[in-house]
Symmetry: C2
Subunit: 640 residues, 2 copies
C-alpha cells in the first residue's frame, strides 16, 4: 500500500507498507549475493540504514545448501536481515546466460516458500536489439505469466515487470495492462543494456512510456539502476525504487562510484572523499591493503555515495528543487545530458503533473531548463486565457524583478497612453499585469541569454501577437506620456484570475462592483470583493488567489460539474465541512484538468458546496491511491 | 617562491614557499578573528589540515591586550598556529566602517613587529559605485603605498592588492604595475560587494583583467571568496588563494554552506550531510543544541565543505577535468551561470593557456562548454592551417567516433571519386583526415543538439568554405562510386602536421619520399620517414606527432629562430643533452606562440640542436617563474 507524502516533477516521497515494515521511497535496494557477502545484510540495515534489500531466488534455488536453509529458516533469518526482502526470479540470468531451466510457477512457489516479501514473476527480458515482433510476443508471454502469478501469489507481494524493449508504444501498452492486474510493484525491466551502452535518451522514452501506462498508486522500480549519477534524474522521472549490484561489483574491480562518474583506484589522483569509509585513509593506504579489505572499503564507499545522494534527493523533493539537482547531475556525462534534453519531447505529459507553483524560485541551469513544464504551462495558459485590457501594446526589455517595481514609472506612462506594457522575458512576452504570478516573478536567469531562449521567445512572441490581435505594437520608448490614470490593481486581479481559473470561472467570480482590500504593508491586493462578497484572497508568495467560499459558490452556480470540483462521498462530508482534509478513498470524482496545488472546490454528490482547498494529487492519481490526502482543505463550509 | 606542478585551464597546482612552510595551492585561508575562536587555529591545522590562516592586524593593533601579546609573544604563539599566517591591514574595515585611523607605514611596521608571514599594504578599497576618476585616483595611491611598502617590508612577504573597481582596463593597468614591484602575493581586492550582489559576470571581467596584467610566477588571491560554490570556477580562472570568514559568520546565523548554495537550518528539510561534523546528528538534534554548540557544529560543517571541495578541485586539476567541474558548479545559481557564460568574451586569452591536448576527453555539459578554448583553437587552426588534398568536398553528418571507422566505406567511396570527406561535427566542419586529433576524437556530446551549436557550426562552416575554395561541395549521398584508391595515411600525416606545426615547419619536415611505419596492432601511422630520415612519431592518445631529432633539425635549418624553439643558457646544455628536463631559470628565450604541452625544440644560444620535448609552460610564464620545469625533455641530443 502506497501513500504519497510530497511531490516534485514526477518524483514523489512515499511510504510503502509491506508486511516487513514501511519503506520510505525513493529507496535503493542493495543487491545481496547470498554466496558472497562483502557487506552483511545486518550492516546494510544498521550501519547504512537500508530498510530493504534484493537477492536472487534463482541462485538460492540452484544451490542445494542455500535452498534448504532458505526453506527451513526462511530468507530473513538466513540472510539475517530484519527489513524488507525482495527477490528476483532468474530473468536477468536468462539475459546474461540464455534460457533458464525453471518455470514461472516454480519460481513463484519457491519465492513464497522462502518468505520473500516481494517476489518477481519470471518475465522475459526484452533485448534492445530484438525485432518488434519478437518483443511483442515476449511481452504477451510476460503479461500472461504475470496474470497467472497474481492468481497464485497468496500473501506475497509481487513485481509485475514492464517489458517492451526500446518500443515506447509496446512499453506503454504493457504497462497499461499490468496496471489492471493485482500487482504490487512495477519494475521497468530490460533496461540494463541501455544503461550499459549509455543510451539515456531511449531510457527516458521507456520510463515515460511506462509511467503513462502504469497506475500512480504503486511504486515503480527502475531495475538495475544503482549508480548515484542517475538516481536524481530517474527519481524526477517518477521512479521510486532502485537496486544496486554495482556497489559490490565495482568494488571488486577497484572502482569508486561518485555522483559524477566511476573512477578506478589507479586513475584517481587524489582521494577527496569524506565518507566514513574513506575518512582516515589515503589513496596510498588503500592501494596497499589486501584485496579483501580494499574491496570492503570501496564497497562501503559506494554505498555511502548512494545513501548520501538519496538523502539529498529526498531533501530536494521536500525543498521543491529536484529539477535543479537532476539537471546538474545530468551534466556529469554527455549521454545523460542527452537524456535530459529528451524531456522537451514530453512537455505535455510533464505539464499534467507540474504543481501550479512552488515555494522556491526556478533556477535556470542552462538551456535544458526550458524543458521544465513551468515554461510550457505559461505558454499554454497565456495563449489560451489572456485577454488584454488595453488593445495596444508597448514592449519593454527584460529587467530586474519584480517588473512592476523596476518599470513603475514606465508602466504608468504607457498605460496612461492606453497601452498594455509587455515585457520580453525568457518565458516569452509577459503582460505587466501578470508579473507577480509564478513562475514569472519566482525565477532567476543568467543575464547572458542562450540561443535556444532567443528562438523560443521569438516563436512564442509570434504566436502571442497572432492570437492577441493588438491594434498596435510599439516600443515603450516611443510613448512619451499619456493623460489617463488607471487602477492597475483592477487590471491585475482580472488578468490573474483569468490565467488561474480561465474565462468561465472568472466571469462567475468577478462581476458588478469590484472592491479591493490592499495590504497596508506591501500595497498589494489582499482581498477581492465582488458585489459585496469576498470571493478571492491573495495566496502567499506565488501571486495567485485562494478561492473563498463565496467565490466557490459562484463557480458552482455558473460552471457545470465537475469543473474545478472534487466530489466526495456522503460519509466524508461532515468531516470535510469541519475542515478536515479530503482523503483519496473518499473522492468519487474530480475535474481531470486540475493540476497539483491548484485551488479546488469540494462538493457533495448533489453539487452542494462542502469546502475549498488545494488539490494535492491529480484525478488519475487519486483514483489509484487507496490512502493519503487528495485535497488539503482550507475552509470547510461549517467553519466560522 | 612559487613552483607550478600541474595545470588545467588557467588553474594551477603550485607549491608556494614561505618562511613558515610550504603551502600547496589552490588553498583557502580561514579567517581567524583573534577575539572569537569558534574553531581554534590549532584545530584548523590538525583536524582540517589548513596550512595557512589569515587574521586582521588592524583589529589586533586596536586592542591593547592583543597588541601587547602579539608584539611580545609573536602572532604564531599568540594564536597557537604552527603554519603560515597572513594578515590583512584594515582596508576591509575602511570599506565597512569608513576611514581608518592608521597609516600605511604604521600598518607595515606593525605587521612586521608581530611576525606576520605575509602582510598586506593598507590599500584603498575601490567600491563598485565609484566614478572612474575616483577609482583611478585611488589606484594610484594604492600603487604608491605598495611601492613604499616594498621598500620597508624587510623579510616579511607582502600582499600587493589589485584594485580598480569594475573597470577592467584600470584593473589590468594596476596589475601590470604591481607585477613590476617586489610584491610576493597578489590579492584581487574590492570584490566582496560584487560577490554579495551576485555580479559574477563583472567578477569574471575583473579576474581576467587582473590575470592579464599580473606576473604568472606569483600566487593570486581572490580576497573574500570562500564559498565552496565559487571555488572551482575561481580556480579555473587562475586564482590560487582564497579566504573565508563566512564559515564562521554563516554558522552564527545557523547557515550551512554547500557547493550548491547556503541554506538556513530552519529551511533545510532533511540533513543529507556525511561530513564528520554532521554525521551522527539529525536536524532535530542540532536544533535542540545550545547556541554555542550549534555554531561550532555548523562552522565545522562549513569548513569540511570547503576542504572537501578543495580536494576535489585539486583532484580535477590532476585529472585534467576542472573545466567540467567548474561548469557544473556554476549551475548552482543563475548568476554564477552568467559568469560562466561571460567566458566566451575571453576566448583569445583562454586559448593562449590551453594545453594542446588532454589525457581525458572533453565532456560537453551544455552550450556553455562552447566557451572552452579547445573550440576556439580548432576553429582558428583549421581556418589558418588546413589545405585540402582533394579540391572537391563531400559532406557527412556527425556520427559515432572515430569517424574513419564508422564511415570507413563512405570515406573510401568519396575519396575514390576525388572528394575530401567533411564531417559536420559540433566543432564545425572536420576534414576526415583530421578525425583523430584532439579534441575531435577525444570529446563527447549529447545526441540532441542545442541551438548555440547549430549557430556556431553554421558560422564556422561559412567561414571554412569561404577560406577553402572547394570547386564543389555536395552531400556524400550524391557520390555513388569512384575508381582511384588513395593512401589515406599520406593525406592524414600531412594534414595533421599542418594543423600541429603550420605550413612552414611542415614543408621543412615532409619532403621527398614519405615512408610510413604502421602499427601492427592498430594499423595507424607510428613513424614518419621523410627521405630516409625518421622525422615524426605518433604521440600516444591525442592523434598528434612527436618531433624526432632529425625532424627538429630540419625545422631549425629552415624556420627562423625563435619559432618552435626554447633557447637555453650554456650552463644547462650538457644536462639537457643527456635528457634532463629544462627548468625555467635556464630558458633565455622562447617562441611566444607555443602553447602548453606543444612539441618544442631546445637549442643553445647559437641555435644548435640540444633536445626535443614538450613545453609545460608558455614563455610569459617561464619568464616569471624562478623554478619548475619549463620543457619536459623527450630526446636529448646526446642520448642514443
Amino acid at each position: 500500500m502506497l501513500e504519497i507524502v510530497k511531490r516534485d516533477g514526477l518524483a514523489r516521497l512515499c511510504k510503502f507498507e509491506t508486511r516487513s515494515g514501511i519503506l520510505k521511497t525513493p529507496a535503493l535496494l542493495p543487491v545481496v549475493n547470498p554466496k558472497i557477502l562483502i557487506v552483511t545484510p545486518k550492516e546494510l540495515y544498521n550501519e547504512f540504514g537500508f530498510r530493504a534489500i534484493i537477492t536472487n531466488s534463482y541462485i538460492i534455488k540452484n544451490d542445494t545448501n542455500l535452498k534448504n536453509r532458505a526453506q527451513t529458516e526462511g530468507l530473513h533469518r538466513m540472510l539475517d536481515f530484519p527489513g524488507i526482502i525482495m527477490t528476483d526470479s532468474g530473468t536477468f540470468q536468462s539475459h546474461m546466460y540464455g534460457e533458464v531451466k525453471v518455470t514461472n510457477d516454480e519460481m513463484i512457489d519457491f519465492q513464497k516458500s522462502i518468505g520473500t516479501d516481494i517476489g518477481t514473476v519470471l518475465d522475459i527480458f526484452t533485448e534492445p536489439y530484438w525485432t518488434r515482433e519478437e518483443v511483442s510476443r515476449s511481452v504477451s508471454e510476460t503479461l500472461e505469466r504475470t496474470r497467472h502469478a497474481c492468481d497464485i501469489k497468496g500473501d506475497m507481494m509481487i513485481n509485475g515487470v514492464v517489458q517492451g524493449s526500446v518500443y515506447p508504444d509496446l512499453r506503454e501498452d504493457c504497462a497499461r495492462k499490468m496496471a489492471t492486474m493485482n500487482v504490487d510493484v512495477h519494475p521497468i525491466g530490460g533496461t540494463v543494456p541501455l544503461m550499459e551502452q549509455y543510451r539515456y535518451a531511449e531510457l527516458v522514452d521507456i520510463i515515460i512510456a511506462s509511467k503513462k501506462g502504469l497506475a500512480a498508486g504503486r511504486p515503480v522500480h527502475l531495475f538495475g539502476a544503482g549508480h548515484p549519477m542517475i538516481l536524481a534524474f530517474a527519481t524526477l522521472l517518477g521512479c521510486d525504487l532502485f537496486d544496486s549490484a554495482s556497489y559490490a561489483k565495482f568494488a571488486r574491480d577497484d572502482r569508486f562510484m561518485f555522483t559524477d562518474g566511476t573512477f578506478r583506484l589507479n586513475d584517481i589522483q587524489f582521494l577527496d572523499c569524506n565518507c566514513p569509509a574513506c575518512r582516515g585513509n589515503t589513496l596510498e593506504s588503500i592501494k596497499k591493503m589486501d584485496k579483501k579489505s580494499r574491496e570492503s572499503i570501496i564497497a562501503r564507499h559506494n554505498l555511502y555515495q548512494i545513501t548520501n545522494e538519496l538523502a539529498l534527493i529526498r531533501r530536494c523533493i521536500e525543498e521543491e528543487r529536484l529539477w535543479e539537482l537532476a539537471e546538474i547531475r545530468c551534466r556529469a556525462h554527455p549521454a545523460l545530458l542527452d537524456g535530459l534534453r529528451r524531456l522537451r519531447f514530453y512537455k505535455d505529459y510533464l505539464e499534467c503533473k507540474e504543481p501550479i507553483s512552488r515555494d522556491r524560485a526556478i533556477f535556470y541551469t542552462g538551456s535544458e531548463s526550458r524543458a521544465r513544464p513551468a515554461f510550457h504551462r505559461y505558454t499554454e495558459r497565456l495563449l489560451e486565457r489572456y485577454v488584454p485590457y488595453f488593445h495596444k501594446a508597448a514592449i519593454f526589455t527584460d529587467s530586474k524583478k519584480p517588473y512592476s517595481k523596476y518599470y513603475a514609472s514606465g508602466f504608468n506612462r504607457v498605460r496612461a497612453a492606453g497601452y498594455t506594457p509587455i515585457i520580453m522575458s525568457p518565458f516569452g512576452p509577459v503582460p505587466a499585469e501578470l508579473d507577480e504570478i509564478y513562475p514569472i516573478a519566482q525565477s532567476l536567469f543568467p543575464g547572458i541569454i542562450d540561443c535556444d531562449t532567443n528562438e523560443d521567445v521569438k516563436k512564442m512572441t509570434d504566436l502571442f501577437f497572432e492570437k492577441v490581435k493588438f491594434e498596435e505594437v510599439i516600443s515603450e520608448n516611443e510613448i512619451k506620456s499619456g493623460n489617463i490614470e488607471y487602477d492597475t490593481n483592477q487590471i491585475r486581479v482580472r488578468a490573474t484570475a483569468m490565467y488561474q481559473f480561465g474565462p468561465e470561472a472568472t466571469n462567475a467570480l468577478l462581476h458588478g462592483k469590484i472592491d479591493l482590500v490592499l495590504s497596508r504593508k506591501t500595497g498589494k491586493v489582499r482581498n477581492v470583493i465582488s458585489d459585496g462578497e469576498h470571493v478571492l484572497s491573495m495566496r502567499a508568495n506565488d501571486g495567485f488567489y485562494t478561492l473563498r467560499p463565496e467565490g466557490a459558490k459562484r463557480i458552482i452556480e455558473l460552471v457545470p460539474t465537475p469543473k474545478f470540483r472534487a466530489i466526495v462521498v456522503d460519509d466524508a462530508v461532515p468531516y470535510i465541512l469541519q475542515g478536515r482534509n479530503a482523503f483519496c478513498q473518499f473522492v468519487a470524482n474530480m475535474d481531470p484538468n486540475i493540476r497539483p496545488m491548484e485551488e479546488i472546490i469540494v462538493v457533495d454528490k448533489d453539487d452542494n458546496f462542502v469546502a475549498t482547498g488545494r488539490a494535492i494529487l491529480t484525478w488519475d492519481e487519486i483514483k489509484s491511491f487507496k490512502r493519503g490526502i487528495a485535497v488539503k482543505i482550507r475552509s470547510g463550509g461549517s467553519e466560522v
